[in-house]
Chain length 495, copies 2
C-alpha cells in the first residue's frame, strides 16, 4: 500500500513540476515575450501540456488511482481527497473515446484563432461553425457519462460542485425581479458621480499605487510579483510564487487600482493555501466560484466601501494628488457610479451579474435545444436590451466579447455570479466575528486577510465550496444577502 | 546515411528546445522571480540542465556522431561543421572518468555559494580550498587529453580556438609596455572631464533612452526585449527572441546607457545569425572573443566616439536635458575619462585590458605551478599596484571580485581582451568599405549593422574566429591596431 502511495506521490510531483513550468512559460508569453518568440514558446506550452495531461490519464496511472481508491480508508485525509478528486476526473475522461477527445482538443486549439479573426472582421458568422461544433462535443461528452441529470447542470457541476439549473434559475429569477427594476430607477436619475474622479495619472504613479495597495491588503511580495498584460490575470507557479498582472491606462487611474485589488484577492488566496498541501493537487482554490468570491470580496465589498476609503484616502493621495480636493464621500460615489455598459469586464458591481445572466440563459438555451448557435447575435442583443437597456452596435461589443466559449468553457460563466453571491455571505459571517468597518477605517486589512486565511484559504481544495460556505455561514449558497446588499448600497448612493 | 542524419537532427532539435526552455527559466529567475520562487525555479533549471547535458553525452548519441564523422564528406556544409564541433567536445569529455566528472560538477555547483559567502566575510581564505580543487580538476582533465601542448594553452583554446600562451604573452607584453606608461602620463594630469556629465536622471527616462538607443543601433524589438537585472547580460532563447538586461542607477545615467549599448552589441549579433542555422548548434557566436568584439565595438569604438555623439546628442537631450548645456566635445571627454579603478566591470576603455592581464598572469602562474592559490590575494594586489597604481583595501575589491573561477571558467578571461583587439581590427577593415564617421554623424547606424551582419553575424558558429578575422582583415589577430587606437584616442583627449 505505502509503495503505491509513494509511486502516486512521485507522479503527482512530476505533474506539478510540469504545471509550474507551464505557468512560467504562460507568464512569459503573456507579459513580455517579443512577437518573434511567440511561436517557439507556444510550441513549448503545447508539448508540456500534452505531457502533463498524459501523466495523469495514462492507463497505468488510472489503475494506480483506482487501486488506491479501493483502499481509501487507509489513506490520510489529504491523500484520500486527492484520490477522490482524481477518480471523479477519471470517470469523466474514461467514457470519452480517445480519438474524439483528440479531435476536440484540436478543435479548441484552433478555435481561439478563429474567434480572434471573427472579432477582427466583427462578424459572428465566421465563428459560428466552430462554436456549434464545440457545443455539440460538450453535449456528446456529457451524454457519454450516462447520467440522468440534464446536460447543462452536469456541465455547471464540473466548474462548481453541486451546482445545477434549478439553483441558478432561482437565483437569476430573483436577480431579474429585484435588480432590473432598481437599475431602471437609478438610470432615470441620470446622476454623474464619476465626473469628479476623472483625471489622468502617469503609468509610473499607477504602478506605485498598485504595489502599495497590494501590500496594504496583505499580498506578500516575497512570494509574488505584479506585472502588466493586455488582460489582467493571476497565475500561480506555486504558493511561494504567485503572479498578478494589471493594465495601466493613463486616462483611467481607477481601472488599474481595482484590477490590482481584484487580482490581489485571487493572489492572497493562492498564497494562503497551507504549506502541507504544496506538493499535492489540493494546492488550488476550492472552486472557480470560491476563487471569484475572494477577488470580488476585495474588489467590491472591501475596495468599493466608504470605510475603506476613509482609511486609505490620504495614502492614495500620495500617488493621485487629484484626490486631495475631493471628500471621501465623493470618491466613494465616483467609484460606484452605475453604468449600463456593453462589456462584462468593464461592468460595475450592480450590473455585473446581469451580464452573466445573459450568458447563462444562452448556454442553457443551446444545451437544451431551445436556441440555435446561428441566432446568437440576435438573442444576445435582445437580452442586453431587456436587462441592461443597451444594444451592441456590432458582434465584438456583443456575442463575440468573451474568449471562454472558444476555449470550450461552457458552464463556466455562472462561477462569476456565484463569486458575487458567496462574497456577500462571507462578508455577513465575517462581520459577526470581527469589526470589519473598524478594521477598514484603521487600515488593519491584515485582520481581514487572517480571517479569510483561517476560514477559506488554508484549505485549498481540501474542502468543497459547499463545505466552506456552510462551515462559515451555517447555510449553503443563498442569494438573498447579495441582493439585499446591492439594494441597500445603491439605494443609499442614489438617494 | 540520411536516416542517421534525421535521427541526429531530431536529437539536436530536442536539445535546442530544452536549452531554449532553460534560457527562459534563467531569464525569469534573474529578472523577476520573487524570492519565494527561487527554490523551485532553480530545481527546474538543475533538472533540465542535466537532461540537456545527457542528451548529447550518452553513448548512443556519441556513437551516432562518430559514425556521421566517418562519413562527413557526404554531409552538407552545416551538418559537417556541427559534427566536427561535437566530435571535438566529445573527445574532451570522453577521456574524463565519469565519476570524476560528477564530482567536479558537484564541486562547481556548490563553489558559487562558497564564493558568495567569502565575499560576505571579505575573506579569500574561505574560498581558497574550493578554488584549489577547481584548478586541480582543470589541470587533471586537460592532462587526460594526453596532448603535448601546455595545460593553460589548451584551456585557452577551449574558449577561443587557436589561442595559446605564446600569442597572449606577446599581446600582454606589448600592452604593458605601451599602455602602462600612457596611463601614468595621463594620471599625472589629474584632469576631471567627468565632473561635467555628473547629474541625476530618473529611471524612467533612462529606460526610455535605452530603448531609443537600441533601436537606433538596429536592435529589433520585434525579436527581442530589454529588462532589468543586478548584473547586465544578454540571453538568447532563439534568434527571434533575444533578451537584454541593464541596470538603472539614478546617479549614473551613463552607466545604463553604455551597458545597454554593450548588451545591444551582443544582441544584434544573436539576432543576425542566419535563419538557416536556427535549428542547428551553429546558431551562436563564433567564440566568446568574437562575441565580446561585437559588444565592445558598439560600446567603445562606436558609442564612445566623438562622431557618434555628433549624430545623437540632440536626440539624447530629449531624455537627458542636462546635456543641453554641454558641447559634443565635453560629452565626449566626459564619457572617456580615465580612472584607475579597482573593479574590472567598471573599468574604462584604456585600463580594461590591464585588469584582464592581472587575471591572465595569475591563471597562467597557477597552471604552470609558479603560484599557489593561497598567495593569490597578495599577488593580485601587487599586480594591481604595478599596472594600475591602485591597491584593493580588501579581497572583495580584489581577488574575490569575479564569479568566473567559482564556475570553473579558467582561461575564459582573455576572451574579453581579445574582444577589444578584434574590435579595432574589425573597425579598421570596416573603414575601408564604408564611411563610418559619416554614418555615425548622420545617424545611419543601420549601415554599420548591415556590414557586421554580412561579415560576422550571419555565419554564427559556421566559421572559426580565425576564419572570420582573416576573411575580414586579411590577417589573424594582431594587437598593434588596438594599441595604436588607444594611444591615439587618449593622447588626443588628454592633450
Amino acid at each position: 500500500m505505502r509503495d503505491k502511495v509513494s509511486i502516486f506521490r512521485e507522479k503527482i510531483k512530476e505533474k506539478k513540476m510540469l504545471d509550474s513550468m507551464l505557468a512560467l512559460l504562460q507568464w512569459d508569453l503573456e507579459t513580455q515575450a517579443p512577437k518573434g518568440g511567440y511561436e517557439l514558446i507556444s510550441k513549448m506550452i503545447g508539448d508540456l501540456s500534452l505531457k502533463s495531461y498524459e501523466l495523469t490519464t495514462n492507463k497505468e496511472f488510472i489503475k494506480l488511482v483506482e487501486n488506491l481508491y479501493k483502499e481509501k480508508e487507509s489513506l490520510d485525509e489529504i491523500e484520500r481527497k486527492e484520490v477522490e478528486i482524481l477518480i471523479e476526473d477519471i470517470e469523466k475522461i474514461k467514457v470519452i473515446p480517445s480519438d474524439e477527445y483528440r479531435l476536440y482538443s484540436e478543435l479548441t486549439a484552433k478555435a481561439q484563432g478563429i474567434w480572434e479573426h471573427a472579432r477582427e472582421k466583427k462578424d459572428f458568422k465566421i465563428f459560428a461553425p466552430v462554436l456549434k461544433e464545440i457545443f455539440e462535443y460538450n453535449k456528446k461528452f456529457i451524454k457519454y457519462r450516462g447520467k440522468d441529470e440534464d446536460v447543462y447542470s452536469q456541465l455547471l457541476c464540473d466548474y462548481e460542485k453541486g451546482m445545477n439549473i434549478e439553483k441558478l434559475d432561482k437565483f437569476f429569477e430573483e436577480l431579474k425581479n429585484e435588480i432590473v427594476p432598481l437599475l431602471k430607477e437609478i438610470e432615470l436619475q441620470k446622476r454623474d458621480f464619476q465626473g469628479k474622479i476623472k483625471f489622468q495619472e502617469s503609468k509610473e504613479k499607477q504602478k506605485e499605487l498598485s504595489k502599495f495597495i497590494l501590500k496594504y491588503l496583505g499580498f506578500d511580495f516575497q512570494r509574488g510579483i505584479i506585472s502588466e498584460s493586455t488582460h489582467p490575470f493571476t497565475l500561480t507557479v506555486n504558493r511561494n510564487d504567485v503572479r498578478l498582472t494589471t493594465k495601466y491606462i493613463e486616462e483611467l487611474p481607477f481601472s488599474s487600482l481595482y484590477s490590482s485589488i481584484h487580482e490581489g484577492g485571487h493572489g492572497i488566496y493562492e498564497q494562503g493555501v497551507e504549506n502541507v498541501l504544496e506538493e499535492t493537487i489540493l494546492a488550488d482554490g476550492s472552486s472557480m466560484g470560491i476563487h471569484e468570491s475572494q477577488s470580488r470580496f476585495y474588489e467590491n465589498i472591501i475596495g468599493r466601501s466608504e470605510e475603506f476609503w476613509s482609511g486609505i484616502k490620504d495614502k492614495v493621495e500620495n500617488y493621485y494628488p487629484n484626490l486631495k480636493k475631493l471628500s471621501v464621500k465623493e470618491v466613494y460615489k465616483g467609484i460606484n457610479q452605475v453604468e449600463k455598459s456593453l462589456i462584462r469586464v468593464e461592468a460595475d458591481e450592480l450590473t455585473y451579474s446581469l451580464h452573466i445572466m445573459v450568458r447563462y440563459e444562452i448556454e442553457k438555451g443551446i444545451m437544451n435545444g431551445k436556441y440555435n448557435v446561428d441566432e446568437l447575435p440576435q438573442i444576445w442583443n435582445e437580452k442586453m436590451m431587456e436587462y441592461l437597456g443597451v444594444e451592441p452596435k456590432d458582434d465584438v461589443e456583443g456575442v463575440l466579447q468573451d474568449v471562454h466559449w472558444s476555449c470550450g468553457l461552457i458552464g463556466y460563466f455562472p462561477s462569476y455570479a456565484l463569486g458575487n453571491v458567496y462574497s456577500v455571505q462571507i462578508y455577513e459571517a465575517m462581520k459577526k466575528d470581527i469589526n470589519v468597518e473598524g478594521a477598514l477605517e484603521r487600515g488593519e486589512l491584515i485582520k481581514i486577510k487572517e480571517w479569510l486565511g483561517e476560514k477559506i484559504h488554508k484549505y485549498g481544495k481540501l474542502k468543497t465550496p459547499k463545505e466552506i460556505i456552510i462551515n462559515i455561514c451555517g447555510e449553503d449558497l443563498n442569494s438573498k444577502y447579495y441582493i439585499e446588499y446591492l439594494k441597500n448600497k445603491y439605494r443609499e448612493i442614489y438617494n
